[in-house]
Amino acid sequence: MIKEGANASMGSKVFKSASEAMQGLRDMGVLRDSMTVMVGGFGLCGIPEQLIIALRDTRVTGITCVSNNAGVDDWGLGLLLKTRQIRKMISSYVGENPTFEQQFLKGELEVEFNPQGTLAERIRAGGAGIPAFYTATGAGTVVAEGKETRSFFRPGDGRCGATIPGKGYSGRDGKAPQDGRPREYVMETGLFADLALVKAWKADEFGNLVFRKTARNFNPMMATAAAFTIAEVEEIVPVGAIDPDQVHTPGVFVNRIVKTQSEKRIEQRTIRDGAGA
C-alpha cells in the first residue's frame, strides 16, 4: 500500500492533538496489530514524542519498529517497550534502555541491527521506489550473513560508467581508493512501513516540512517511506509561508500534522569548560 488515498482530501491535514491525529487510522487499515512503524529521531533528538505516546495509547501490539534507537526507559520508544507493544526493532544502536535489555535477553523482543548508514539508505530506498541496492558497508561482517554479496568496481574507480560488476572476481580487497580493483558489496533491500511518525520544526497546512538542526536526522526519509505519515511539529504556518526553496519535505509525503509542546529531553548535556558560570 503506497500512500493509498494519502493525497486525496480528507479535509484539513491539521489535527488538534497527537491522539486525534491517530483517529480513524484503524478503519483505514493503517493501525493494526503486527504493523510496521517508522519513528524518526537520533537518540532523543528529533523524536515525535507526543505521537509515540499517542501510538502507545492506541494499544496496537506486535509492532515492528524501524528507528535508529530505542529511546530511554521512560521516554521515546522506551514507553512502547514498557507496554510490550513492540515485537521487533530494526535499529543501529540501542544502548540506553534497561527495559529493552531485559526483554531482549528474555527473547521477548527481536532486534535486527543495521549499520546506521545502511538503515538510512534502506529507508530512503523504500520511499524512492528502489527495492534493493548495494553497499560496501558490512561486507565481510555478520551484517552480510544470509545476504547476497557481489563485487563491483567502486564508483570513482576506472571512471564513469565503470561501476560494473567485477566479473570473475572473488577476493576481497582493501580500501585504497585508486587501486581499480573490484570490491565486495552487500545487497540491502528497501524498507517501507505502514505508518511513519516524524518530528519537524515547522509545517505549513499542506504538510511541507522544515526541520531544525540535527533534529532532522532520519525524519525526512521516513516521511517518504510509509503508507501514512504523521508529522509532529512546533509551529504550523499558512500555506505559502515557507520559502519553496527551503522546504525539506514536500507536503505530498505528509498526511497529518499536529502541533505539540515538545519536552525535548537532552541525554548528554555537555557544556564548555568554565562556561557553566
Binding site: C45, P115, T118, G138, Q268
Partner: protein, 219 residues
C-alpha cells in the same frame, strides 16, 4: 616511555591536514579535536547530520536539537550545514570524508577491525561504525596496545568484525603502525620514546613489518 592517554590524541592530530573533513569517534578519538593546530582549518562531521561541529555550548547555548553522534550537546561553527542521515551517510559512504579516527577492540594483521561487540555484554549495535570504516578515505585507530595484558593486534580477529581490511593506521601508547596495502601487513612507523620494536612485538600477536630504522614519536 609509553605515551600517556593524553598523548595518543596529540599524535593522532598530526594526521590532520588543512581543509580536511574528519569524523571522530566517541571517547579518546573525540579528544583529537582539542589538538587541531591553530593555523589548520579542519571540519568535523557528525554522522547524525552536521558538517562543522563547534565547541561544546555554554549553558545558554545548549540546544536539544543540536547534538553530536555521541548525543552530547554541541554547537555549529560558521559555515556549518545540517542534513539528513541519508545524506550524511551518502557523504560517508561516497568517500567524501578525508579521515576518521576511532577506537578498536581488536585489529587483525590485515587490518580487519572489530569494535562493536563487547564479548559477554549485550550487543548494543554498530551505530555508524561499519559505514565509517567502509566509506571514509583513511581510517585511523587510536587504542591501548593491549587489553588486560592481551594483544589487541592479532593474527585474526575472534570478535565480530566491523569491517574487513579497513584500518590504515593504528596509534597506541607504544607505537604508530601503518598498513602496507601491497604487503597486507602493518609497518612499524614510529615508536614511543624509549620503547623498542621488540617490546612492541612482545605485545603484538599480529605479524608486523619492522623496518631497520623506526622513527620516534615526538611528544
Amino acid at each position: 616511555m609509553a605515551l600517556t592517554r593524553d598523548q595518543i590524541p596529540v599524535r593522532a592530530a598530526r594526521e590532520l591536514r588543512d581543509g580536511f573533513v574528519v569524523n571522530l569517534g566517541i571517547g579518546m578519538p573525540t579528544l583529537v579535536a582539542n589538538h587541531v593546530p591553530a593555523e589548520m582549518d579542519v571540519w568535523l562531521q557528525s554522522e547524525n547530520g552536521l558538517l562543522g561541529i563547534g565547541p561544546f555550548p555554554t549553558e545558554q547555548e545548549v540546544d536539544a536539537d543540536l547534538i553530536n553522534a555521541g548525543k552530547q550537546t554541541v554547537t555549529a561553527r560558521p559555515g556549518a550545514s545540517y542534513f539528513s542521515s541519508a545524506d550524511s551517510f551518502g557523504m560517508i559512504r561516497g568517500g567524501h570524508i578525508d579521515l576518521c579516527i576511532l577506537g578498536a577492540m581488536q585489529i587483525s594483521q590485515e587490518g580487519d577491525l572489530a569494535n562493536w561487540m563487547i564479548p559477554g555484554k549485550m550487543v548494543k549495535g554498530m551505530g555508524g561504525a561499519m559505514d565509517l570504516v567502509a566509506g571514509v578515505k583513511r581510517v585511523v585507530v587510536t587504542m591501548e596496545h593491549t587489553a588486560k595484558g592481551k594483544p589487541k593486534l592479532v593474527k585474526t580477529c575472534d570478535l565480530p568484525l566491523t569491517g574487513k581490511a579497513c584500518v590504515d593506521m593504528v596509534i597506541t601508547e607504544l607505537c604508530v603502525l601503518e598498513m602496507d596495502r601491497e604487503k597486507k601487513r602493518f609497518v612499524l612507523k614510529e615508536l614511543a620514546p624509549g620503547v623498542t620494536a621488540d617490546e612492541v612485538k612482545a605485545q603484538t600477536q599480529a605479524e608486523i613489518i619492522v623496518p631497520a630504522k623506526v622513527a620516534t614519536i615526538e611528544v
